[in-house]
């Protein structure tokens, strides 16, 4: 009996532990077997290669991490010709490809190109990166746009379509509903919060571009609240993330309504965090004779 079996819409997962886009790579295969994960999530791909933002790009705060990577990536062509085939041939778990664009047509173009690649592939549409001008968050803050974009993409694929939402909006539920109305199969949340750090001695920003994306332990209560809020308002599955470092953090998100979770910054704190989370969760469920379904959305007050 697999107590941790779960699904994100059409996507069946043998367990609910995945990784947050941009915080993971096959390098972690040095530390444990990546096929033990529920799914692999790629770094966000854009149509053209992106050089990324000028450094410094990172700053660790008291309880989290500010980043300003700026979606540095080799672009769609190289991803499809070099990276994706290598991932597909070496991984037996679903591969969730994260991508972003600067127009609805560009998103559609990228998805159509990815459709031509065979494999157990799902899509995570990144409309919530705070570190780039035209892609990312520009799309994720307006419900109308989210609906139009999701509709366009849903028509082009039968694969799992996950829309990744930003916490940097006044009403995340309206954005979530727009994605559901547009035909999303599931939602991923949250992307990073806006964050900034300044050296009080010199007055200088710790991040070259000023504002970055804030992740890690510090944002867990925010992520948990938004997961609960969205899960209560919609009826498609949620892939939740934000400050999950261990199996206890993960359990909180399942109680809040998540069907699967992703480890992000936690991978940097502990390179085996995702595997350790999975083992901890299995042990806990076995000890209590529970399955994941007994827990999802069952928060009590």
């Amino acid at each position: 009996m697999n107590r941790l079996q779960t699904s994100l819409g059409k996507l069946q997962l043998s367990n609910p532990i995945t990784v947050a886009s941009g915080t993971f790579g096959t390098e972690y295969g040095s530390f444990y077997d990546l096929n033990s994960l529920g799914a692999y999530v790629s770094k966000t791909i854009t149509l053209h290669p992106k050089p990324g933002n000028p450094p410094p790009r990172l700053y660790e705060t008291e309880a989290g991490l500010i980043n300003s990577i700026g979606l540095q990536n080799p672009g769609l062509d190289i991803f499809c010709s070099q990276y994706l085939p290598k991932l597909s041939s070496s991984l037996s778990i679903p591969i969730i490809v994260s991508f972003s664009g600067s127009t609805i047509e560009e998103f559609a173009f990228i998805l159509e190109r990815l459709e031509s690649v065979e494999g157990n592939i799902a899509y995570e549409v990144n409309i919530s990166c705070p570190n780039v001008e035209n892609e990312g968050i520009a799309f994720g803050v307006d419900a109308q746009t989210v609906r139009k974009l999701t509709e366009r993409l849903a028509l082009l694929t039968n694969r799992e379509l996950i829309i990744k939402l930003s916490p940097n909006v006044s009403d995340i539920v309206s954005i979530a509903k727009a994605a559901v109305d547009g035909g999303a199969d599931s939602l991923a949340l949250i992307n990073t919060l806006y964050g900034m750090a300044i050296d009080y001695k010199s007055g200088k920003s710790k991040i070259k571009r000023g504002i970055g994306g804030y992740s890690g332990k510090a944002i867990k209560p925010v992520a948990l609240a938004l997961t609960y809020k969205v899960a209560s308002a919609i009826n498609i599955p949620i892939l939740a993330m934000g400050g999950i470092y261990n199996w206890m953090d993960a359990l909180e998100f399942f109680y809040a309504g998540a069907s699967a979770v992703a480890i992000g910054t936690g991978n940097f704190v502990n390179p085996t965090a995702a595997r350790d989370t999975l083992i901890g969760l299995e042990d806990y469920m076995t000890e209590r004779n529970l399955t994941l379904k007994d827990v999802i959305g069952k928060v009590e007050f």
Binding site: F31, F268, V269, P271
Partner: protein, 255 residues
Amino acid sequence: MYQEDNPMKSIDLPVVKAESLNQDYFILWVQEQSLAAQTKAGQFFQLKVPDSQSLYKPISVYDVDKAFIGFFVKKLGKGTNALSQLRRGDLLSLIGPLGTEFPIQSKKKVVLISGGVGYPPMWYLRKQLAKQNDVYWLHGGNSKQDVFPCDEIWTVDGSLGSKGFVTQGLEAILKFNSFDVIYACGPEPMLKAVYQLANEYKVKLYVSMEAYMACGIGVCHGCVVPTGSSENIEYKKVCDDGAVFDANDICWSAL
């Protein structure tokens, strides 16, 4: 099953010796035969106190002696302060060895130049070079707290050695001697000045770059430095494209 061919390790090892040098600097030693055997000059490890909820800190290798690996650390913030509390027998979490190594020369006239916390990797490098090369090492720091044994010491406040920037010392020796290679590690302004001098006197230069890191293993793209030309910058990762770079690859005007 998918695992990388050449696995990196994360490992907890007991500190076999903890030396406090002064209020800012300390050295931690661990003992592990196979790690020591594969650790090259210029490489670094990700270090942290086990079970801490903070990121690892990238610390360059100060010395390798038989099965012992030494890390020479400056207290710069929360992570390095926590490391400074470790005592003999306490566990240290490590990932590594990581990054590129300094190319080792033979029968060359070599200058090492370091500034501040750029000192440690030069110690191990000098050991590797000294057998087959003629090596001269200049080191500079803000004050006498920041300088350690080498051939020529500079301090900004004049509290030990010559008063001024260590790059003044480099200029003086380049003016009157010919050298084949310079290796440099230190703060960006120092490295920029070294690059200009190396260019002027046409000496090959390798630099070890410093950067804030998160993963340390090439995943997060957080620790980049600009390479290429200012019109066409390519950001390369200090953690796995470096930390040692050929100075001609760095786009110094973008730093």
